[in-house]
């Protein structure tokens, strides 16, 4: 579909590209664009982080991104373009892990679309983060179980479902 771009980008091949995301969601119909950029940060749960490796089940991740786009379109009920790209492989501090951009006629829909999409990516896409620490140790992050299907219209993942959402 023309108004939805989804991608998984191997870090060894390229970095995620915010300018490309903005370009994709730009449209004469749209006066509002919202972008979320997730980056690798240097500290988590009391430990000094030096890098992150992302593992993805790529075909299902891409399908999940598309489903999120379709859901956003139904939820927002306005014209929109949505860009979702996630990095794969070994990332260093400051590297871009995820870029989500939404273009809509007005800012309210743009913010909502972008928020809905990034929360869904974090909670539903088959992606795993392994943190590497300054002491040489590594650990897979605890995450959200996919055993339970998300309930219809449950867009408010603001932290009342029991696992704290430190991620």
């Amino acid at each position: 579909m023309d108004d939805l771009h989804v991608a998984v980008v191997e870090r060894a091949d390229a970095a995620l590209d915010v300018a490309a995301a903005l370009d994709f969601v730009s449209d004469p119909r749209f006066g509002g664009i919202s972008v979320f950029v997730g980056k690798v940060r240097d500290f988590n749960l009391g430990r000094q982080v030096v890098g992150i490796s992302y593992d993805l089940f790529v075909p299902l991740a891409l399908r999940t991104f598309r489903n999120i786009g379709e859901r956003a379109r139904a939820e927002i009920g306005a014209p929109m373009k949505l860009y979702i790209a996630h990095a794969k492989g070994d990332l260093g501090l400051g590297d871009l892990a995820v870029v989500v951009a939404a273009g809509t006629p007005h800012r309210a829909e743009a913010f909502r679309t972008c928020r809905l999409a990034i929360e869904a990516v974090k909670h539903e896409a088959p992606i795993w983060k392994q943190e590497h620490y300054v002491d040489g140790d590594s650990a897979w992050s605890e995450g959200c179980s996919l055993c339970e299907q998300p309930s219809e219209g449950a867009q408010d993942h603001s932290g009342h479902d029991g696992h704290g959402h430190a991620h």
């Binding site: 996630h86 795993w128 996919l146």
Partner: protein, 86 residues
């Protein structure tokens, strides 16, 4: 029947090949497969927390397969621990 299961995230450490094969009786459900995988890990990959399988999902490349679903024949599956993207 043989079912090939691709491993992701923390469960990758169960087998350096990134997948394993289980012998599954025909007609088994995903719930049955979950039990078989947990037992396999306890025996063959004690370094992995087999309890992780309890909160992992099974999937094809197209969809999550919930517990009541029959294990599809001739289709590679994946086991997905809790996710942590973004």
């Amino acid at each position: 029947m043989k079912v090939r299961i691709a491993l992701y995230g923390a469960l990758r450490e169960a087998d350096p090949r990134g997948h394993l094969e289980l012998d599954v009786p025909p007609g088994s459900t995903i719930a049955d497969l979950r039990e078989l995988l947990a037992a396999h890990l306890r025996e063959h990959a004690p370094q992995v927390n087999a309890g992780l399988v309890r909160i992992s999902a099974f999937a094809s490349s197209e969809e999550i397969l919930h517990n009541h679903r029959e294990v599809p024949a001739d289709l590679e599956l994946a086991v997905l621990p809790p996710v942590s993207g973004g």
